[in-house]
């Protein structure tokens, strides 16, 4: 049995490598807000209130482009709706927590933390305080997101744009799913999702981000049926 502390540090260590993409993205996110002419306090507050990288950028771009508040809010909701899927997966491991703890831990569920903690959960189902791994990964991502968006707000886009550091985002997620390329069923699901995302890229409210996972999960259900 691992102690709470050990689980927390395992969570920290699991997401630490992803800082190569989280930090540049945070800096870009903060800097864009300032470039678009928003109040620095407001840009930073988004990192606490929304705490969702891509959705924060889209939100500011829409508002500065003259879109209505309703469209901006809808887009954020659609982009972040993928967390519903993360929650459905994680609920198996968080079931025994009290309602209050569930409410608190939910706030720190983000892509990389979900991905890495879920990998750990699948391999260590019998551990007692599993949620400390999620707290470790989530808190780490939260702190670095706050610091890097702040850095972008204060220092501006001091990372040269020519470096194309936005490319670190797809790379970080490649690192997350690459081992599943060994399994043909997962490959089918991934390709379905990827192609759907390109096909529906221009759908309103950035909805490709949730349309393609839904299509891919239907395909996953079909694959499961065929396997039996």
């Amino acid at each position: 049995m691992l102690t709470k502390k050990q689980l927390f540090s395992k969570g920290f260590l699991a997401v630490a490598p992803h800082m190569f993409s989280v930090i540049p993205f945070g800096i870009i996110c903060g800097a864009i807000g300032i470039e678009l002419g928003f109040d620095p306090v407001l840009v930073y507050a988004m990192s606490i209130i929304i705490f969702g990288g891509a959705s924060q950028i889209v939100f500011l771009q829409l508002l500065s482009g003259g879109a209505s508040a309703l469209i901006a809010v809808t887009s954020v909701g659609v982009i972040n709706s993928r967390h519903l899927l993360y929650g459905a997966v994680l609920s198996e491991y968080l079931e025994k927590l009290s309602f209050i703890k569930k409410l608190l831990i939910s706030y720190i569920v983000v892509d990389q933390g979900f991905a890495e903690s879920n990998k750990f959960f699948m391999k260590n189902k019998t551990e007692q305080h599993l949620h400390y791994h999620l707290i470790g990964s989530g808190v780490t991502l939260w702190i670095f997101w706050q610091l890097s968006t702040l850095a972008g707000i204060v220092l501006g886009s001091f990372v040269p744009e020519e470096l194309g550091l936005k490319f670190a985002i797809p790379l970080t997620f490649i690192a997350i799913v690459v081992q599943d390329l060994k399994k043909i069923d997962h490959v089918i699901v991934m390709i379905t999702c990827g192609l759907s995302s390109l096909l529906f890229f221009d759908a309103p409210f950035k909805s490709y981000i949730i349309i393609s996972p839904i299509i891919a999960l239907f395909v996953a259900a079909l694959v499961l049926r065929l396997k039996k």
Binding site: P17, I49, L63, R82, Y86, A168, F173, I174, A175, V177
Partner: protein
């Protein structure tokens, strides 16, 4: 006004995170659904990966000889064999940089 909009966006985002964890009883999900949920990472992350590689900042498809495609292939190979996140990210970035800065 913008503050109110951000607050609403934040509340909605929080609900996307909290609903399935705290409000929905897991027993409501059937066995089939639980099996399908094992595919969530594979079903979600390519929707971030593919547009991040194949679509540029202006929303247009990239050329087939774009350095990002090369970088992504290197990252997939390195990641597959090394099982190391840092090696995956850095190999992808550096092979991309080699093409755009040196060639």
């Amino acid at each position: 006004m913008t503050w109110l909009t951000i607050t609403i966006a934040g509340i909605i985002t929080y609900f996307t995170r909290m609903t399935m964890v705290a409000l929905v009883d897991r027993d409501l999900l059937g066995e089939r659904v639980k099996e399908v949920l094992a595919y969530v990472p594979s079903a979600v992350f390519p929707a971030i990966i593919f547009p991040g590689i194949f679509i540029n900042d202006y929303g247009a498809f990239i050329e087939m000889n774009d350095p990002k495609i090369f970088g992504a292939i290197v990252a997939i190979l390195v990641g597959y064999f090394s099982r190391n996140v840092i090696a995956t990210i850095l190999s992808g970035l550096s092979s991309y940089w080699i093409i755009i800065f040196l060639l």
